[in-house]
Point group: D2
Chain length 431, copies 4
């Protein structure tokens, strides 16, 4: 039998260089054009059948799709930076892909998911920020891989490569999902509906860092994902001169302010955690004009899908009625969504055993409450609802700064560790 | 005796061309660099003693002065568009000027004030907008003379020219104030404190349009200016992850929202009108982060200075205490200010008589409540407090669109009308 | 011709004793059973045609009528204190009356209105409170004539007596309205619709004290009554245990609190004063139960009827929508109402002249803004709308304490002064 | 060895008659005068050393003590209903007691606590309400034992009797605490500090019903008590006429409303549940007067003491600052308090075993989250902090209506069941 660890060690340099290439060319949700092209090229070259965009996802469940001009700018960036966009013809313009290795032998179907989008952050250009110092920091101003998805892709591609090398020793099917739009929880739902996933027996996913903030500390059996909905709202009022005729205006900011404070009063629930946050606000014009347009960006969460849905409904009720009460109109758009989920204990225990064997000195936390949201939960749920098992883990790595911080960086040693753990888990599940 | 009307008619073409030049190169508060240079050149050439910037104003009362980089951009614009900025050495960097004609004969001191700043509006580039169609619309993107101050300057310069031509027929002193920063009520206070104004017997000022929205409708004896304060506020909180640890954040937006709704509850006053408006808001970052910084732009007004001051004090109390209550800090800056004021009836009646004689068919409204704010009131009050008399009028003109609208334009015929009325008033007051 | 002043002086002792009798037996809105009976007996004895309750008022416009048990308690009090309630058969159970003196001669129809209800106040039992010390303070606990209506009735009855004595010197018709339910502005509307008033040429009414707070200071030509609506609201929610299952409750107090703060934000109006006040709140049960019922008592006012109506509509909109937003129901009842009104200058000038002649040393204020509300305005408006003239005045009197205070008391000397002024005014209007 | 079950069965009639006596004479917090006297008489007659009021409790920790006149009324009731109040000399006026049985033999110290106060509820007088039908409903109008404390006392007294009967078979010390003021969480803190409790090895307490709502369903190992603080607040403002001079008032209701909505916005916490509820509000006077006094009754809770304390501090900060912001004063009094606590598993398992043996068919829930508050937690914590173990259980009983409902009643069969379980537990702990 092949020495799997050796195969992994062979990729030590490659995996870092793949990660750094993605790091340098970050692209955000539904705009991962260069990124998708690159991944596709790799996977095709390894012998996978590659399915792009809406060959994988279900278009009806796509959320928060950008405007045409945003898309045009993003394509332009991709083309100017070596992107191969030929696949767009097949993909219906969507990003993300799935790559399938069918061994031709009877066996389990195992799916893995890696997320590929960057976030809206201006990456640090301080000299103590390694990506900048070593010349692989973002060349796409205002966008950056400050959450580790560059590393996720590097692990996914490397894992796919090794698996293709040991194809003859495997059975069943292996499916790699490279998902667009995780950061804004805009993509997971559409990918989760993919026909490719419908017979999945095991589903594996992983995130670098977060609470696993040291190389020798890993977390398996993540649960307690909060269900969430991401919502954009615009309050449309009517302006008028604030000194001469305030009574002729319909004050969109009074409506927004009242709605905001009122929504925060709704968070007590005996069934579990309930959250609301209005994270950004923008609007109005001159100080002497009754404001006629206010935009807010908000989210709700719940410890269960039911709580999250209740909170969403109650917030909508608040905003719609506050609007009427001030003669204003509230335009409410759900732009992202993820349910709650729990890892299956069976898979968590398998992973724990593998890590303990690979790294006897590591601390392994099993069964940990996340308390945040991730749209991988759509896929976890879909697989579980059809009788399969799902698992989410955190691969320990030192963090230069917290996730989403301009100075975020990882310990690149963790990448090959991640590949080893996932590879051995896949092998174990084949038994 | 000279035919004054004839002298005015001679300027018919000049006055329009002066107005259109200013219209093309609009500059906003404390950045009227090219504008001040141009006016200074005219007035010097007419034989006036010209005093620039802090030769006129009192620096301690300057409000809302721009940042260095804003000033640099503005100077650059002025220099690139033919501005002569030599005067800045004398002016201490401030804009605006005063021009004095001393007849050498005993007589009254009469002061007139014209405002010179533009506003932050993107001027229309529709073909039905005459300034655009005829090629004199703004070349300073995002700035525009959409309130008529270009016309005010043209009237002031033309009036100064004619007065210099009839100097031998006059007595006493004539002072022209070209005031910076009216739109944001940031300039009036500092100019009102000028030593030049200290012995003023009569003070005259005028605005094109507003309620005098036809050529044949003029308004004299304007009163009922609302006292006002313009305020910028920043709420500084502390961010934290809205899903995982909301309790660690200090929510600047909850503070701002509560302060906003609370301030609007303070407007009942048995003594007269009280106003508050928060006209613009901006802040926060990602939707899943407790917002740590919110900016608002607001104003308060009162039918009397006392009411305005009470409202200001109460709003500050609200904002400071709401801040403490949410663990937030409120940074509150007064960036503009104007008191209330009333025109003197004696001057209003003189003006009315002059208009009726010049234009028998015109409707003349005498004694009219403004209901809005203007920082000329600082000068009106100063003159009245020292025993002089003050007057504010509106010179009727057709308006292509309301003031501050991107398509604002005037009937240029009104410019020479304004000069005639002011000239005859000055002559009458000399008697 | 009769010496009118002498006739008045004859009543000096009677008028005080009438006032003190009413003072001792105060009855509140729609419960003035003993009061109405007494007035009717007086007026009948003077030869007037007396019309009771719904012989005068229009039942459809009665507001805030008490519950049966409140009425029963009030009748019981009246019967036990010498009340003659026989008239109730004719009155349909309503209180208040009109008395008409038809001289049989052609002439003007002059109407006068006096209000008869007391208020809900616990009258002082301090020894420095004259009504208590001299034994005529309220025997109806919790009710008191602390606004002067006892004096108004004494003046009305005395004036009616004298007028009946000089009937032969008069022409036309004299109508006395003794109106129920002024304090809660619950009665004026229904009396104003009376058929008896339909041909009124002149309408006179008066109040003791208020701003006329000295014997030698009277006010005529009162104007600037604020239009008002009095509103009772109940918010019905759903209770639940605040610790175990807060999410199952619908919080009536959160709804009420939000509605209250929101309604106070609506008071800016360029057209004139706008007011709202929530004067009382009551509700909830245990501190660990989500409150399911909150009662508030509120009012709105406006400088014009239009402003008042706008404010009413906007407040209803706020309450109804806040209710929906918290899953609560708002039950909103208008329980009182009065429009704005202005006295006619012609009558004000006549009154002024009469006072100046009777009391040369008195200060007389003519043309004064009330800034408060009184439902006499319904009658003033009705008369004016049909071409008649209306007047409201304040009869100066020293006040022991402000109106509605438990120690309120008047200078009884003012009563006969009031009779004289009204008598001479009636005589003058007959000319 | 004595047949313990038989001893219990002997008390079947007595225990019901004791319960019904207490039910008929309910007394609320710090006013349990007759109640305390009766219990004292029983316990003394069984041979216990009885300690009253501040012989047991620590006066400094007494909360929410009634006013003198409330106390006087309560004593009067007790005396008129057969109360023996002689003990008050020793008790310093406080209610509640402890009774100690010292076996003289070396052994464990076991303490048990029973609560003795009634609540403010008007007991039902419907014929389907057994206490009313059978003649033992409350004769103290507005007070009632609608939470089961009458049964708790009956169990405590009966248990004490039996234990005294088997004294010779026991070792160590047995302490019975009959605690005043549980309903308002006003008493637990002061009793918990008792010197008598300082060497307690095991502490047992129990409640009838709640989630154990059937005879054959008992709950042991209760945990997840929410820490709580009960707070009374008065907002003192300044009244003024709402029409004429609203600006002169300081609106206590606007302050209260703003504080209420703001406090409800503070309930998101990643560490666990946080609660606030304002359960009752009362204040203001006439609708046309700015309200100058508003009372609220509120509570906060937290899943941990730290969360509860944070919430308390934040609510105080809100109320104090809202008060300043509206020119109002907030008087904030903590009137009750209880920490969180957890039962010890060792005791829970013992109880479970005992119940299963006594009643094999019963459902026994072990380890259950309460989600509400009880001030027995002060004693539980004190015992645990000194190395002892504590347990809280729910004794199943059918409930005629929910706790605190006017029709609340229990299945009296449960009383003797409770005695059996506690007796066997005490015996077991002696081993």
């Amino acid at each position: 039998m092949t020495d799997l660890i050796k195969l992994c060690e062979n990729e030590r340099e490659n995996i870092i260089s793949i990660r750094r290439d993605f790091h340098k060319y970050p692209e955000v949700y539904w705009r991962e054009f260069r990124t998708t092209g690159k991944i596709g090229e790799y996977l095709s070259s390894f012998g996978y059948d590659v399915y792009y965009g809406n060959e994988v996802l279900k278009e009806d469940f796509v959320m928060n799709y950008p405007t045409k001009s945003e898309i045009d700018i993003a394509k332009d960036f991709a083309l100017k930076n070596g992107g191969n966009l030929d696949y767009l013809e097949k993909s219906g313009g969507y990003t993300g892909l799935a790559a399938v290795l069918d061994t031709g032998k009877i066996g389990k179907t195992i799916a893995l998911r890696f997320d590929i989008d960057a976030i809206d952050v201006i990456e640090s250009t301080d000299n103590d920020h390694r990506p900048y110092k070593e010349g692989f920091s973002s060349v796409n101003y205002g966008k950056a891989h400050c959450c580790g998805h560059d590393g996720h892709m590097a692990m996914g591609i490397t894992l796919a490569k090794i698996i293709s090398q040991i194809k003859s020793e495997l059975c069943g099917k292996i499916i790699f999902i490279f998902q667009a739009g995780e950061e804004t929880v805009a993509g997971g739902k559409s990918f989760s509906q993919s026909d490719l996933l419908k017979d999945t027996d095991y589903f594996l996913s992983a995130h670098l860092g977060i609470k696993a903030d040291k190389f020798d500390k890993d977390i398996v059996g993540v649960k307690g994902f909060l269900a969430t909905k991401k919502i954009d709202v615009t309050f449309y009022g009517k302006s008028s001169h604030a000194g001469v005729s305030p009574q002729l205006g319909n004050n969109a900011l009074l409506a927004a302010s009242t709605a905001i404070t009122s929504m925060y009063t709704l968070c007590q629930d005996g069934r579990g955690s309930r959250r609301v946050n209005v994270g950004a606000i923008n609007g109005g014009a001159a100080r002497n004009v009754i404001p006629d347009k206010i935009d807010i960006k908000m989210e709700v969460r719940g410890e269960t899908n039911e709580i999250c849905d209740d909170m969403y409904r109650e917030c909508v009720k608040v905003m719609e009625n506050v609007a009427v009460m001030y003669g204003v109109r509230a335009d409410i758009r759900v732009v992202g969504e993820a349910p709650g989920a729990e890892s299956d204990k069976e898979l968590a225990d398998i992973c724990e055993k593998i890590i303990k064997k690979l790294y006897p000195s590591h601390e392994v936390i099993n069964n940990w409450d996340f308390g945040a949201s991730e749209d991988v939960t759509f896929i976890m749920q879909r697989v579980q609802n059809r009788g399969g098992k799902s698992h989410y883990m955190m691969i320990g790595t030192e963090l230069a700064a917290p996730h989403h911080n301009p100075k975020f960086d990882i310990n690149e040693e963790s990448l090959i560790k991640g590949v080893k753990i996932l590879l051995l888990t896949v092998k174990e599940l084949q038994k």
